[in-house]
Subunit: 545 residues, 2 copies
């Protein structure tokens, strides 16, 4: 019940934990044949050819090939294999910590770039609070300390000396934020106070999984103070809406926004709003939350203001967060057996260009065309990378960038130079159906073509995820139906007005929890599927990360 | 000797530490009269007028006015006063920690935005390493542990349990970076490996000062691994050059780049390059460093690669960093008695527009013109803010934005609307000389005029700082001359080839240290001013932060 972004793990120790070597071991087998054999003959020839003047030991293979467990065989093993093979992250030396590698970090930067603009547009300023919080602060808000105290990291020694008061390494910043807000807020003229910070946070988790649940993770945490409850509620709703739009439009993840049940509400909040995403294994991922904190923290910390009528009041507050966990959500929503699949809007590389040439005398013409196409795309604002390494074969590169989920691959060989055309392959459609042969290199044609394809891929990933989600949500009208749906691995949606005790019973018996009362509700009278009493809302139940 | 960016403090406990209440106390006196009286009559009238429909208790004053200690009276008190009055930072609840407030953080973001682009242009990728480092790692590199162990913060309890191995909260990341590099680097094909991270770091400092030296601070740390010493040396030099250009062109700080003496070299480096800046009190600030680490860490951590001839070698490494300390450098280089003065290139607000109207019927015409000018400037890429609050007088706003160091203020009143013109005031030139009256609102004229002024201000701040620096560096040819220069608060530059012991003697006797052997060296034969022996280089000595 402790965390802003996560529920207590219902998972068995994951494959990642059981087999830590999976991420670290080098894979020396040649790439899987599937995508190479789907490539046209020119590429295949180059793959096995001996024209490139590279050291012989590196030909036709390498040490980075992803031999990834098929997704259908073992979803958890597939997940950690993809993270290793696509070079997204690695384990840190301290149990449960994670090193975010450049490609994984670039996805996080894409998330930051989008949200940072939205936060500023909606009136928030970035700032930075210290990460060390006096232990006494955590104890000030009763349910907050109950939720967080089991998972704290404590600094007890500083500069060689035992500290008088131990320091909490921030698990979240409501307490220190309120301590400072109390200094800065005196009058209604100081309100609303709307800030955000990008920071690292630490929670001593027992069962960890890269990106999804780690001892330390990166996030943004928004904190606001308002003069009225209504304004705070509006803010909490506004931010869950920002998150929802981000998930749909950028990450192509069709999250379901809604309200948490009392049992699942954040430790210290009156209301928690959430976006819930269905992963490829149909488990739910809480991908972002926004809390209406009421006056809980302002009462605990004495954060007061003088209103327009000279009355002293406690401020009304919100907090909201999205973390590097979202990167895990992207992997588990779109990935397939060939690896990662990135929505173009957040892909660090949208187009990879692979030059293909066999004989040395073909090289200069091919590279000249590659360089010209690269500039054309770059000038058009497309994120493009050329992989002209002569240490790797085109076949190796095809596999590698499929593993990395690059939305579009562009091949340019001698025949293409002659024809002034390129071959385009979509990551999301395997084989010939995903290819455009003979697309003109003429900038006015090529740019439009690629931009169109990127838009199509973005839309297609979202549509596919929506179809998957909708085919895996079952409307239930009895507890028996819920049990059946959950046993099949699906989500169950049904009218609910039963007690907290009933909710905990469902969790105990099925491992499913209420993910949310979705904002979008069916019309008409409803009867609680558990009690038969009238119900105002349907709830969604599912197993979750 | 411990730190990447700092030398052991030579300072007496600063005013900030001695008087922590200075930052926190509210100042309720009216603004200083200087800048208001310098304003034209229209503004002055509005300052004392009663036209704005604001509650009477807020007229003509307020709780944010900066009553700042004059710089010439007490530089340290002036510094902390400006930080409070310009709302740059505040003290955190844990001794020595700092909260970076939105305006201070926006300056840091401007630094980040520029450097992040330069780092990527020079081939570096961002990533993220965990902040918890096993204690045993710190002990692996002999001089590193000696430098850092006195100032470590240690986590000893996690999830309610005593940890088997205590964890260091990173003071810098060379050790954990090398631990990971050892996993990732096998072959020359994996080199160069060039990464950077934006992160918080912790050093248990005894004497702290906002921005300059805090328990926790924000920075970027670059880490690279190369196949040869030459390549590492080139990289270390490249990055100090990036920092130098940033300091000159963006921050208008005429730093002196050079090499550190052996005594002042980073704990674990073979060579440390530095940029040294002269603050307004003529103390030196080490504003950024770049280290050639040689093979010190690669030997300690076994970071090896197979070269093109199948030989196993240790990699050659660099690291380099700039921190939030740089914000302190900007304050102390350009600020004056009226507060902060920001170079336009890094100013979060380049132009502030203050609407001025007395009677209600003037408001709509003034606000319409203000809004139109705002849009014009925004579209031209100028960072513009309108302060249309009716809770504050124009006079209060003039003081407030001068305190915040906004380069240009633009006033628009009823007469300006009639004349279709504005009044422009430069922050860096007080009184009438800094004003342009009757500048046309016509976008084609106004935009060029303001852009021109911003360029002038940027150049003028740099020129002023260069003149100040150069008039405070004395060329010395004897130890006596050095003592005299240092006693006058100046920097001393002279030929040096004496011993480490002599260097420490100078420090003991004068409190001055070798800031650097500047890259720019005078030609001709030189004699060490201490020993009379031949010297290859001049060194710069100064007291420092």
């Amino acid at each position: 019940m402790a965390s802003l972004l996560r529920l207590p793990s219902l998972l068995k120790p994951s494959a990642a934990v059981a087999r830590p070597s999976a991420l670290l071991r080098r894979r020396c087998r040649a790439g899987t044949a599937a995508s190479v054999s789907a490539s046209r003959s020119q590429a295949a020839a180059a793959t096995t050819g001996a024209a490139a003047p590279a050291p012989p030991e590196t030909r036709g293979g390498g040490d980075r090939e992803g031999q990834v467990t098929p997704r259908s065989v073992d979803f958890n093993a597939w997940y950690t294999d993809v993270i290793a093979a696509a070079e997204l992250a690695d384990y840190g030396p301290v149990r449960g910590t994670m090193v975010i590698r450049p490609y994984g970090y670039a996805i996080w930067e894409a998330i930051q770039d989008y949200l940072n603009v939205k936060f500023k547009e909606t009136g928030h300023s970035n700032m930075y609070f210290p990460q060390f919080i006096p232990y006494s602060f955590i104890e000030k808000e009763a349910s907050h300390v109950e939720g967080f105290s089991p998972e704290l990291a404590l600094v007890t020694i500083g500069g060689g000396k035992e500290l008088e008061e131990k320091l909490v390494v921030r698990p979240t910043s409501e307490t220190i934020v309120n301590h400072m807000f109390t200094k800065w807020i005196q009058s209604y003229r100081d309100l609303p106070l709307m800030i955000n910070q990008w920071a690292n946070v630490t929670r001593w988790e027992m069962r960890t999984k890269p990106f999804i649940r780690t001892l330390e993770f990166l996030w943004q945490e928004g904190h606001t103070a308002h003069a009225t409850l209504e304004e705070a509620e509006k803010e909490a709703m506004q931010m869950i809406d920002v998150y929802t739009k981000f998930a749909y439009e950028q990450a192509a993840i069709p999250v379901i926004p809604g309200r948490k049940s009392r049992v699942e509400t954040f430790a210290g909040a009156n209301r928690t709003y959430t976006i819930e995403a269905m992963m490829g294994d149909r488990k739910a991922l809480q991908a972002g939350t926004s809390h209406n904190l009421g006056q809980n923290f302002s009462r605990a910390f004495g954060t007061q203001f003088m209103d327009e009528n000279s009355q002293i009041e406690h401020v009304w507050q919100t907090s909201w967060a999205i973390s590097t966990r979202f990167v895990g959500g992207i992997i588990m929503t779109h990935g397939d057996d060939a690896g990662l699949m990135l929505p173009p809007n957040i892909a660090p590389i949208q187009v990879v260009i692979v030059p293909i040439w066999k004989k040395g005398d073909e090289k200069s013409a091919v590279m000249e065309a590659v360089s010209s196409v690269q500039n054309t795309l770059k000038e058009a604002g497309i994120r493009v990378k050329v992989d002209d390494s002569e240490l790797r074969t085109p076949g190796w590169k095809f596999n590698f960038y499929e593993m990395k989920g690059v939305p579009i691959r562009l091949e340019i060989g001698p025949r293409d130079v002659t024809n002034k055309s390129v071959v385009i392959s979509r990551r999301d459609i395997p084989g010939k159906q995903g290819k455009d042969f003979g697309v003109s290199m003429d900038p006015s044609i090529l740019v439009d073509h690629i931009k169109g394809r990127l838009v199509e891929i973005q839309a297609s990933l979202l549509q596919k995820a929506i179809a998957f989600r909708d085919s895996n949500i079952v409307d239930v009208s009895s507890y028996g139906e819920l049990k059946e749906a959950i046993a099949e691995g699906k989500w169950a949606r049904g009218p609910w007005s039963a007690s907290d005790a009933d909710e905990l019973k469902v969790k105990e018996e099925t491992s499913a929890t209420i993910r949310c009362f979705p904002f979008e509700q069916p019309e008409g009278a409803k009867k609680c599927f558990m009690t038969g009493n009238p119900a105002e809302e349907v709830a969604i139940f599912a197993k979750s990360y």
